[in-house]
């Protein structure tokens, strides 16, 4: 009995000790940056939806509920020992795949032409493709973390398995069809492979394949006409300012009219007039641009930059390959989405239906993004290199 007691007691105290030290190792800057973005996002969602009906606060309340749920999920994830995640990763991946399969069956619901939703009732809905981003990150990192014998490059088999895993997920998302998310998944895949140390000539081959695939899509006219039109409108928004160019034109007008200091919260005429479509989701940044001006919009970009750079720091400082890969790939994912989203609102990227992480309205996306931050914190807290 004493033996057992002796055996157990130190382990308990060690666990408590590591938990306490882990808490101390929480990345406070990251936490504050994400928190600030969530608060700003809430204000912007409020501003852009309050004119929908007199005294309309329904959506902003729902957004705050989403944030709360996301925070709980994020904390839960942060508490996990991330190394155990390697074991769960295949399950997480399979579950998200199952979700992706479910949405393209009649169980899914289409919004704006994409079969991306599973209705949960009570006005709540789940968008499995958002969760698939995180699922794919974990799956790829798990596959690629184990290096080949000759050093720190991934094994050929693992690369092939990774491509297979990514291909299935991308294929399912494209079937919805949701080109924006498919693109994010592709970037996650490339990011993970490159970070994992894939040979440069493989990278080159991959790049050529991607270019070839892109060309094929173009030549075989696999894109929907609206997608081609969006791209044309990106190259020259003046071709059809009332039609496909409408979004980018109105988005630029809203942001540009904000000037240096903005018009003040709730004072943006373009926002109040709802000239920019999808303003509380994909075009939320235009509200920041109009109402907070250059100063406020830049602050949002800087906060997003802080999140990315903290993520990179965590990846760099991480002692093991898996943690570094997960953190690095999450940064790739978020960075790509930020670049596309902010870029399209200021007219340097084509219009793509991607939300701005931590800021846009959208339940599942909020959950996925906050859980990704939770994963970053988990890596930060449990990393052996710091112990």
């Amino acid at each position: 009995m004493t033996d057992r007691t002796l055996m157990v007691a130190p382990r308990r105290s060690l666990a408590r000790l590591t938990a306490q030290s882990a808490m101390r190792r929480l990345d406070g800057v990251l936490l504050v940056a994400v928190g600030a973005l969530c608060v700003i996002g809430t204000l912007l969602v409020w501003s852009s939806t309050r004119t929908w009906a007199p005294g309309s606060t329904g959506l902003v309340k729902k957004h705050m509920l989403n944030l709360a749920v996301g925070a709980v999920l994020s904390s839960a994830v942060a508490m996990l020992d991330y190394r155990h995640v390697r074991i769960y990763a295949p399950f997480v991946y399979v579950v998200t795949l199952a979700g992706l399969v479910l949405v393209i069956t009649p169980a899914g619901t289409a919004v704006n032409g994409s079969h991306s939703w599973i209705m949960l009732g009570g006005g709540f809905a789940l968008q499995p493709s958002e969760l698939a981003k995180l699922g794919l990150v974990l799956m790829l990192a798990t596959l690629l973390a184990k290096p080949a014998k000759d050093g720190d490059r991934p094994r050929a088999l693992d690369v092939l398995l990774s491509l297979l895993a990514a291909g299935v997920a991308i294929g399912l998302v494209m079937a919805q069809p949701d080109m924006g998310t498919a693109l994010v998944l592709a970037v996650i895949t490339v990011g993970a492979l490159v970070l994992a140390g894939m040979r440069k000539r493989w990278i080159l081959a991959l790049a050529l394949t991607a270019a070839g695939a892109g060309a094929a899509v173009w030549w075989l006219e696999l894109l929907e006409p609206y997608q081609v039109a969006r791209f044309a409108a990106f190259l020259d928004p003046s071709v059809d300012p009332r039609g496909v160019g409408y979004n980018s034109t109105q988005s630029l007008i809203a942001i540009g009219s904000g000037g240096l200091y903005g018009k003040g919260l709730f004072e943006g005429g373009q926002t109040t007039g709802r000239f920019v479509p999808e303003q509380h989701t994909d075009f939320i940044f235009t509200v920041a641009g109009e109402e907070f001006g250059f100063v406020g919009a830049l602050a949002v970009v800087i906060l997003l930059g802080v999140v990315l750079l903290r993520g990179l720091r965590i990846a760099r400082q991480c002692g093991d390959r898996f943690g570094a890969l997960v953190a690095g790939t999450i940064v790739c994912w978020l960075a790509f989405q930020i670049m596309i989203n902010v870029g399209m609102t200021v007219g340097i990227m084509p219009i793509t239906g991607l939300p701005l992480p931590f800021v846009s309205y959208g339940g599942t996306a909020t959950f996925a993004n906050l859980m990704a931050v939770g994963v970053l914190q988990a890596i930060r807290m449990r990393d052996r290199a710091f112990n």
Binding site: T51, G197, I253, T272, R274, V301, I302, M339, G343, V346
Partner: protein
């Protein structure tokens, strides 16, 4: 792990580059180009809405509205939005309970091949498609704006005619303004409103600018769907002036009733006109034309069927005012001008003139009415009994003195020039659009007519009229064509003779005749008649008084005028109108006048009576013309009698006393009489 770290460094650099790029771009958009986008934003966010001014009313001389406004719930459609989404009209048809086809037709733009109902206005204006919407229908539309983009339901002022058909041609009507008219207006080029209308005929057209007022402008903040969020700037509209006319609505109705009765009595009558002037001022007290129509048809988007009905011969072209556009030979009413011409030619005023049954003009005999000789007459009796041969002779003698067919020196053309001095052959200049000039067939007119018709006449002179069935008629026409071809440019003796008694090619309008008589029985001054009396602000302030200008003087001395007036004063009691005025209390009101019966080839005669009363110091000149009405004493004179009976209250009704002073409009808009 080192390789991973190296690649993370590359990622780090890329992230920083991206952040910097976004920051630079933001600077560029918000700070460098900021001003540009601020104005672009103002453009998309604000819309100029024209607030239509309330159109002024048209009042009669005692302040009774002839045309006023009523408020109506008007549903309008933005044409472009409706074309973009065909569902809008479909849903609208369901809400308004109207066939979809009708709505679709009403938003088409009028043009060649597009018949009414269609939209004659600017394509950028909202098109009113229902001017009798109920509150329930309007709410159904306004509450579901997302289903009805570009559809508005607004309270607007719509024209209303308390007098119904009374004076319809004179009052005119409104139509949506066309794009060109809109562009000609100042300051309103890009702006539009649902009720941008323009007066198209009658008083509405002539006084359009004053009645219209000045629309206000509201800069409205709108959202993406065009829903107004708030007002940024507002310029209040200035309501239009009221037009006070000299029309007495009671006399107007009286005249219209008299015309209606006259047309009923004369079975072949196809139109009539009545004019009542105040000879002392030249103001119009009534101006009527039959058949009439209800001007309310213009208010709610006239249908093609109705429109064609208004234009068709079969219904008697009710849009045309016969008082100013009806051109007819005046018959004997014209003799007042001929008497004046004789006096100017040197025939003595107190002379005695033989009135045989027939008079040879050249080689052709011209007959008195029914060929009856009346012995030797004074000019006085010549007018009372309407002798023709005295005038034939005088006209023929003047014609010969001018040089006959081939004048050597410039002809005097006394009869034609006197007629001109009486105001015939040119518009009276009344404040109505599109007045006809009438026609004086002198030598110059013959030449210009020949220039137009000689080619056709000469062709017909060769080919004849094979399509005419009657052989004798065809031969007559061929001979006529030959004559016209060979010497159609010449004023023939018969032309001169016919002209002297108001027959042949001479044409006058009822209004021309009325103002000639007004000048004759008042001060000899020829006035340009006016319907408008004054323009006042809605609060009663006088803007402008409108007075009939004097435009000429009759070529008669006061004595001569008195002589002629005296002669005419006997017509109704002892002359050609005695039958019509039998039993009329001449001791109470003595009526003077002259009948006219003008022959129209292939038709019933035109019936005229030009009158004035009382004979001492006339207050009224009344002219009635009934097209195809038969003899003047039979159809027109009884109608005139009916009018006088009404005015003087001889049938038991109250007499009508037209206002002599402008009605006073109080600052709250009410009228004090």
């Amino acid at each position: 792990m080192n390789r991973v770290r190296t690649r993370l460094m590359v990622l780090h650099v890329m992230v920083v580059v991206m952040l910097v790029a976004l920051g630079v771009r933001l600077w560029q958009v918000q700070v460098v180009q900021g001003e540009e986008f601020v104005s672009a934003a103002a453009e998309t966010r604000t819309r100029n809405v024209v607030v239509p001014a309330v159109r002024g009313q048209i009042l009669d001389s005692s302040g009774v509205p002839l045309v006023r406004n009523r408020t109506a719930l008007v549903v309008s459609v933005d044409r472009n939005q409706a074309l973009k989404d065909p569902g809008v009209l479909r849903r609208l048809a369901a809400v308004l309970d109207r066939p979809l086809g009708q709505l679709e037709k009403r938003i088409r733009l009028c043009g060649p091949g597009v018949t009414r109902p269609c939209w004659p206005g600017s394509p950028y204006q909202p098109i009113p498609i229902d001017e009798k919407a109920t509150t329930r229908e309007a709410l159904a539309i306004l509450e579901r704006q997302e289903e009805f983009p570009g559809v508005t339901a607004e309270i607007q002022a719509v024209r209303e005619y308390p007098g119904g058909r009374s004076g319809a041609q004179m009052l005119g009507y409104l139509q949506p303004v066309t794009q060109e008219e809109l562009e000609r207006r100042d300051g309103l080029k890009a702006a539009f409103s649902g009720v941008d209308v323009v007066g198209r005929d009658g008083l509405e057209a002539v006084y359009d600018e004053a009645l219209r007022g000045r629309p206000g402008l509201r800069k409205v903040q709108v959202d993406r769907l065009g829903k107004a969020l708030g007002v940024e700037q507002q310029v209040a509209p200035v309501p239009g002036d009221h037009l006070i006319t000299s029309i007495d609505s009671r006399i107007q109705r009286l005249v219209e009733q008299a015309l209606k009765n006259a047309m009923k009595k004369a079975p072949r009558a196809d139109g009539a006109a009545g004019v009542v002037l105040d000879p002392r001022t030249g103001r119009v007290l009534a101006l009527a034309s039959a058949p009439g129509y209800d001007p309310a048809v213009w208010t709610d988007g006239i249908s093609e069927e109705e429109y064609q009905r208004l234009l068709s011969e079969k219904t008697g072209k009710p849009l045309v005012s016969r008082a100013i556009n009806g051109q007819f030979a005046p018959g004997s009413t014209f003799k007042v001008s001929s008497v004046a011409a004789m006096l100017r030619a040197g025939y003595p005023l107190n002379g005695r003139y033989p009135c045989p049954g027939a008079y040879m003009v050249g080689n052709r005999a011209f007959h008195n009415f029914r060929g009856i000789g009346l012995g030797t007459l004074t000019l006085h009796m010549a007018l009372v009994r309407s002798c023709d041969t005295i005038f034939y002779r005088a006209a023929y003698e003047e014609y010969l003195r001018d040089g006959g067919l081939h004048p050597k020196k410039p002809p005097q053309e006394r009869f034609a020039n006197t007629a001109r001095a009486f105001g015939f052959g040119r518009p009276t200049g009344i404040d109505l659009p599109g007045e006809s000039a009438g026609r004086i067939p002198d030598r110059a007119w013959k030449k210009s007519l020949w220039a137009q018709t000689s080619a056709d006449s000469c062709r017909r002179a060769r080919t004849g009229y094979p399509e005419v069935k009657s052989a004798s008629r065809a031969a007559f026409l061929k001979r006529l064509a030959y004559e016209n071809c060979a010497e159609g440019y010449l004023l023939r003796p018969g032309d001169a003779a016919n002209f002297s008694i108001g027959q042949g090619d001479v044409l006058v309008t009822p209004l021309q005749l009325a103002r000639a008589y007004a000048a004759l029985v008042s001060d000899g001054r020829l006035r340009s008649p006016r319907i408008g009396w004054a323009l006042v602000r809605p609060d009663g302030r006088l803007v402008r008084r409108i007075d009939p200008p004097v435009v000429g003087r009759l070529p008669l001395t006061e004595k001569e005028r008195a002589y002629i007036k005296n002669a005419l004063s006997q017509v109704a009691s002892d002359g050609t109108a005695a039958g019509a005025f039998a039993g009329f209390p001449m001791d109470l009101v003595r009526v003077g006048g002259k009948t006219g019966t003008a022959e129209v080839y292939g038709k019933e005669d035109t019936s005229w009576f030009a009158s004035f009363a009382p004979t001492r110091n006339p207050r009224y000149v009344v002219v009635v013309m009934v097209s195809q009405g038969g003899m003047g004493g039979q159809t027109a004179a009884p109608a005139v009698r009916e009018i006088y009976e009404g005015i003087y209250g001889l049938t038991g009704e109250d007499p009508i006393k037209p206002a002599t002073r402008l009605p006073v409009i109080a600052s709250d808009g009410t009228v004090r009489r």
